[in-house]
Amino acid sequence: METTELSVNGQIHKLEADSRVTLLDALRNHLGLTGTKKGCDHGQCGACTVIVEGRRINSCLTLACMHDGDEITTIEGLGEPGNLSALQSAFVAHDGFQCGYCTPGQICSATAMLEEAKAGWPSFVSDDLDGPDALSDEEISERMSGNLCRCAAYPNIVDAIRQVAGRQVAGAKS
């Protein structure tokens, strides 16, 4: 058994769990935060994406005990009914889902992705390694390629992200 202190959405949790427990299973099964989803459990789909210490990661491929003292944000921490984040509202406005299973991962991923873009990180499709001035649809798709959608809501997901990105990233580099 490992004792681990996790700060999840601003709240401290003390976890007593087997060393084998992944961060994903700790969030869902031990802390009851079932917004984060398990798709493949092998880093291949992005459904389990959460934000740890400001960075998006796959919570299925990391152990809870490796995150003692870390700050974790899940979909529940980004916003709730009546108080949605900009991306959450944009996903609703643009129908960025069908079954909704990939959606928490998509939104956590996009939230952190916009920060990466603001920091000037380039992507595989950037012409210039200085990073893009604005996020084209091609840039959004490439940067979001770690999040699969079995319902193929991709065009609407890109629409939702573009709407928020247009407001955030354009201002950042000028």
Partner: protein, 328 residues
């Protein structure tokens, strides 16, 4: 997953002392994947994430020292890497996904294991997973397998991108051994060919800790990383080429070429590079260079296509790299 004990190392000496009978965990993105399937089942994990190995620094001769725990995201976005080693940024950004690159470390990426389907399937024979059990890929599905340097015991490929660019860049791996001594190993000698012992991917022995990757001072020339895969993103390379080519007027004055997805290690062949030096670029020359690279190439059925594919990718990369109109 099989049960294991978990220990967090506080410093290098602590890590190495604990590692004699244990396995290091860094980002965990390869190791935990394999542990869930019980392809790997260590009794003990030593977590090295709190060691002081996350810096990128300049070396005395103007090269770069990339700490073993620098994440792939941080390495690709580092100013010095973007400016002086752009092919390394490109290679890293061509791999995995944003989420994975945030966790994947420089040391862990070097040590990532093959994606051979039979290696991942514990119901199947595989000499790499279980020495002596046979190689199911030889007569099975082998679309992603090696065409160069394979053996009858194993035809797996090293799947990574980062190390291919580092090979063209003549990187060295800094390793601290169980005896506390630090040694530098050229990346070309780090990964092994399968031979009769495919269970060994690289030269690391028990307790060895990768502490950094050292890049020599920046070299002049056009740098390109080209990756060909089954989908446009978030997929491993079927074939990749890392090229640094320098022109002197109309002739090629130096060339470094490394290849991914073709062999059990990033592939480099000095005879191929020698053919280019002092020559004027031409389709004929590039064809002869591809002939040389692929002279010993062998397909195993589903991967036969990699031979003409590699030829075309190489020729296309050489055209782009020697195009005087292109900007650096």
């Amino acid at each position: 997953m099989k049960p294991f004990t978990y220990a967090r190392a506080n410093d290098r000496a602590d890590a190495i002392a604990q590692a004699a009978d244990a396995t290091y965990i860094a980002g965990g993105t390869n190791l935990l994947d394999l542990m869930k399937l019980e392809v790997m089942a260590p009794d003990k994990l030593v977590d090295i994430n709190r060691l002081d190995l996350s810096e990128i620094g300049v070396t005395d001769d103007g090269g770069l020292r990339i700490g073993a725990l620098v994440t792939n995201s941080d390495c690709a976005a580092a100013d010095r890497v973007r400016r002086d080693y752009p092919m390394l940024s490109r290679a890293i950004l061509a791999g995995a996904s944003g989420q994975l690159r945030n966790k994947a470390t420089t040391g862990g990426n070097l040590c990532q294991r093959t994606r051979c389907y039979y290696f991942y399937d514990t119901a199947m024979p595989c000499n790499k997973r279980e020495p002596g059990s046979g190689c199911q890929a030889l007569h099975g599905f082998n679309r992603i397998h090696a065409i160069l340097g394979a053996s009858d015991a194993c035809i797996a490929t090293y799947p990574g991108d980062m190390a291919v660019a580092m090979t063209a860049l003549d990187a060295q791996i800094e390793i601290e051994g169980a005896d506390g001594e630090t040694r530098l190993v050229p990346i070309e000698e780090f990964h092994l060919l399968p031979g009769d012992h495919p269970e060994k991917d690289n030269i690391l022995t028990a307790g060895d800790l990768i502490t950094a990757v050292i890049l020599p001072p920046p070299v002049e020339g056009q740098q390109i990383y080209r990756k060909v895969r089954d989908r446009a993103s978030y997929a491993f390379a079927l074939c990749s080429v890392a090229a640094i080519v320098k022109m002197d007027g109309e002739t090629i004055s130096s060339a470094a070429l490394a290849f991914g997805g073709l062999a059990h290690k990033p592939w480099r062949d000095p005879d191929v590079e020698a053919l280019l030096v002092g020559e004027k670029p031409s389709t004929d020359l590039f064809g002869r260079v591809a002939d040389q690279l692929l002279a010993e190439a062998k397909g195993y059925g589903s991967n036969d296509f990699k031979i003409p594919l590699t030829r075309r990718v190489l020729i296309s990369v050489l055209k782009e790299a020697t195009d005087q109109g292109a900007s650096a």
